[in-house]
């Protein structure tokens, strides 16, 4: 006798992406583990969305540089995902028989984990990616999915027409039924971009995954293969229009912008929301200390920081030290970094454990309303005293 406990919907979170356009920031970690917003990592957003949407079973598929991500997720406790039945499960690629296999594509990654999904015999599976920053109630999307009696629902967001060619674009009829799906079209016919969030009826998805796996020509990708195949068979695919803030923080510029978005007077991504908390693993640090000569302006500062200098329009992660006379403006400074006396940091992303030496200058301090290229300093780099680093430079070794 087996104890079959059914889950209505489970989530599969694709967290194996490299995020190569983030350059030095994803040298040692997968994109979902990239820090964001003062105390979070990108993956905190889909994980928190899940638990806030009452989804308590999540398979997290890792592949690229998984060590930090695995340690970060652990048993899922920070997201309330340490469960007797369900919870967060890390699903790395594994060896079967004599063959070891990497995940060859997004669809193949789910295909390889069919046994994991079957344990819960779910009605629906939601496919998420660990690359985006947004707050979304997946239950509302499921409601529409059920109402439309759909086989698959794809979350979409309206993007400016001129940017649509960067995304997977949905063409729909007036009932939101998808008639056509184009991956990065040269001339887009609509501005509804796929957010990479899909709800499938599990039996249907399973059938298509098996079929796709048998096709040697397929690149085993949801956008390129599975969705087009379903459209071809005239399955019921619907778009779900999401109206909130959503950002693909895939580049240095977009990661910087998304952080700066948090500082705006009228915040588009409100993290201060007791009913929709974004959970993160906690570092057990004392409160921040703001010293005698500090000057604070429109910034977010995290625990364990010690600020003696000037911080303006910046996001400061935990355990950062900013010494006397130092100035940090329009920047993102990640955990355990030290900015020594009289150093200046403008328009930059400084990664974890960096030391910016005394009187060093990073980035340009231009006239108002001109945003220069963003400078980046990689993990654990030491910038020696008095060094000047021009705007837009990426520093990945000690200077």
């Amino acid at each position: 006798m087996s104890f079959i406990k059914k889950k209505d919907m489970i989530a599969m979170l694709l967290a194996g992406g490299q995020g190569s356009r983030l350059g030095v920031l994803t040298k040692d970690v997968a994109k979902p583990a990239v820090p964001f917003g003062g105390k979070y990592r990108i993956i905190d957003f889909p994980l928190s969305n899940c638990i806030n949407s009452d989804i308590d079973t999540i398979g997290v598929l890792t592949q690229y540089q998984p060590m930090e991500l695995n340690a970060y997720i652990g048993n899922g406790q920070p997201w309330d995902l340490d469960r007797m039945y369900g919870g967060a499960r890390i699903l790395p690629p594994y060896v079967r028989g004599k063959e070891g296999e990497w995940y060859k594509g997004t669809a193949n990654a789910i295909y390889q984990n069919i046994p994991f999904i079957e344990q819960y015999s779910p009605n629906y599976v939601i496919i998420l990616s660990g690359d985006h920053v947004y707050k979304m109630n997946y239950r509302w999307m499921l409601d529409q999915h059920m109402k439309k009696d759909a086989d698959c629902t794809i979350a979409v967001i309206e993007v400016p027409m001129e940017e649509a060619s960067r995304f997977g674009v949905m063409n729909t009829n007036e009932n939101l039924r998808i008639t056509e799906f184009e991956e990065k079209p040269a001339i887009p016919k609509s501005n509804l971009a796929s957010m990479g969030v899909y709800i499938f009826n599990w039996p249907t998805l399973k059938e298509y995954l098996i079929r796709d796996e048998e096709d040697p020509e397929s690149s085993k990708d949801f956008g390129k293969n599975v969705i087009p195949a379903m459209l071809n068979d005239n399955k019921r695919l619907y778009a779900y229009k999401y109206l909130g803030y959503w950002k693909d923080v895939g580049t240095i510029e977009s990661l910087w912008e998304a952080n700066m978005d948090l500082l705006k007077e009228k915040v588009s991504l409100e993290l201060y929301d007791p009913r929709w908390k974004i959970y993160a693993r906690n570092g057990n640090l004392p409160p921040q200390y703001i010293g005698h000569q500090a000057r604070m302006r429109e910034s977010h500062v995290s625990e364990g920081c010690s600020i003696e200098g000037t911080v303006e329009n910046s996001i400061i992660f935990p355990n950062v030290t900013i010494k006397k006379g130092a100035v940090v403006r329009h920047s993102v400074v990640m955990s355990s970094t030290t900015v020594e006396e009289n150093a200046e940091v403008h328009y930059a992303i400084i990664a974890e454990g960096v030391t910016v030496g005394a009187k060093a200058e990073i980035g340009a301090n231009p006239e108002k309303d001109v945003i220069p290229a963003i400078s980046v300093v990689a993990d654990r780099v030491n910038i020696s005293c008095g060094t000047r680093i021009d705007a837009g430079t990426v520093v990945d070794r000690d200077l």
């Binding site: 201060y272 993160a280 703001i290 005698h292 429109e298 625990e303």
Partner: protein
């Protein structure tokens, strides 16, 4: 060898007015995001002791809520773990303070639970005096001297010669064996005086028999009835603690303890080892366009739009535009609205100070506003 901790979550020697009338001393907020119990429990965690019982007396609701399963101190365990020992109903107790007739009586109340533990040694500590200690070295000293009881003492309070009221003063011989114990109920200024910081180590079986013996003689206090009376018969040794101390027995020492943490050098000592507390998942603190902050500790989830000087501000506090907070302690989720002024004050949780109101105490007598007051 295995060890267990016993924590007294209350103290008969404190007078914190409204701050502890509705909560146990150990549940009092300190250092922005902590409760007193966090410092006490973290000593055990950092000493590798994961079996700890917290003795509760009255109004332990907020203490239990804070501790939960103990998971945040890594003490949600199958073997050992965290227990809160709440008192049994006692017909003889005329008022809440007499639920236990003394520290020994409290232990005797929970003798069953103490006996059940498999630990060989017990580390007993109070919550009124905070320190950072690795109990393992105290236990080692206890074993090296072959003592019956080892009591931690200090020779100075952060470099001053103040002796907190009610802290037993001891006189030792050259081998550090304690020969005399003196207890004075007032605060003292004593040069070259050794006094107990409220920690002792004892073999569990000996503690159990001492409790039984003391109860049969109607002796109820650990220091006066056991250590003082039995020091000629028992081998009671001193163990010197020379680190920093935080005393929380009165409103002014509470204020002092919080403000001490504003000194980066002092706070480096307090936080040299991780201090664990309940995670609230608040957002990073936000600083507005017109704020001014000087020499202050600010916890997560705060929104600072006004001025904060020489103050300790807990999680989720809002200080609105034009408001001024000086020399004060502001507890969790309190809101200080536009152009209000707060000086030399301790505002408990969920207090609201409305637009333009002033709450001004004196350095020698800070104003205390209880939980959920509205000014």
């Amino acid at each position: 060898m295995s060890y267990m901790g016993l924590i007294y979550s209350y103290s008969d020697k404190e007078n914190l007015r409204e701050l502890t009338s509705a909560r146990a001393l150990a549940a009092l907020s300190i250092g922005g995001k902590y409760r007193i119990i966090d410092f006490v429990l973290s000593n055990f965690v950092n000493s590798g002791i994961f079996e700890v019982s917290v003795i509760a007396r009255t109004n332990y609701h907020s203490l239990i809520e804070h501790l939960g399963s103990g998971a945040e101190w890594d003490m949600s365990r199958k073997r050992g773990g965290l227990r809160v020992l709440t008192p049994f109903a006692n017909k003889e107790a005329t008022d809440s303070a007499h639920i236990y007739r003394g520290t020994i009586d409290a232990l005797s109340n929970h003798l069953h639970s103490i006996k059940k533990s498999m630990a060989d040694f017990v580390v007993l500590t109070g919550s009124r005096i905070l320190y950072t200690m690795d109990y393992r070295s105290m236990i080692r000293a206890h074993q090296d001297t072959d003592a019956d009881v080892t009591v931690a003492y200090t020779n100075h309070m952060n470099g001053t010669c103040r002796v907190p009221q009610g802290s037993p003063m001891i006189r030792m011989d050259e081998h550090k064996q304690i020969r005399e114990v003196e207890i004075v109920d007032e605060e003292q200024e004593e040069r070259e005086c050794s006094w107990c910081i409220g920690v002792c180590v004892i073999r569990k079986t000996l503690l159990e028999s001492l409790i039984a013996d003391a109860m049969s003689h109607q002796r109820y206090d650990l220091y006066t009835d056991i250590l003082q009376k039995l020091s000629p018969a028992l081998k009671v040794y001193g163990y010197e603690y020379s680190g920093h101390l935080l005393e929380i027995s009165t409103i002014s020492t509470y204020m002092e303890a919080n403000k001490a943490m504003l000194d980066p050098e002092f706070s480096a000592k307090v936080f040299q080892k991780t201090v664990y507390t309940k995670v609230k998942d608040s957002v990073p603190a936000r600083y507005g366009p017109e704020c001014y902050v000087e020499n202050s500790m600010i916890a997560d989830g705060c929104q600072i739009m006004g001025t904060v000087i020489n103050s300790v501000v807990s999680r989720g506090v809002h200080i609105d535009k034009g408001a001024i907070v000086k020399d004060s302690i502001i507890m969790q989720d309190t809101e200080i609205m536009d152009h209000a002024r707060v000086e030399h004050a301790i505002l408990d949780k969920d207090v609201i100070i409305r637009d333009g109101r002033e709450v001004i105490g004196h350095p020698s007598y800070p104003i205390v506003l209880p939980k959920m007051s509205i000014v």
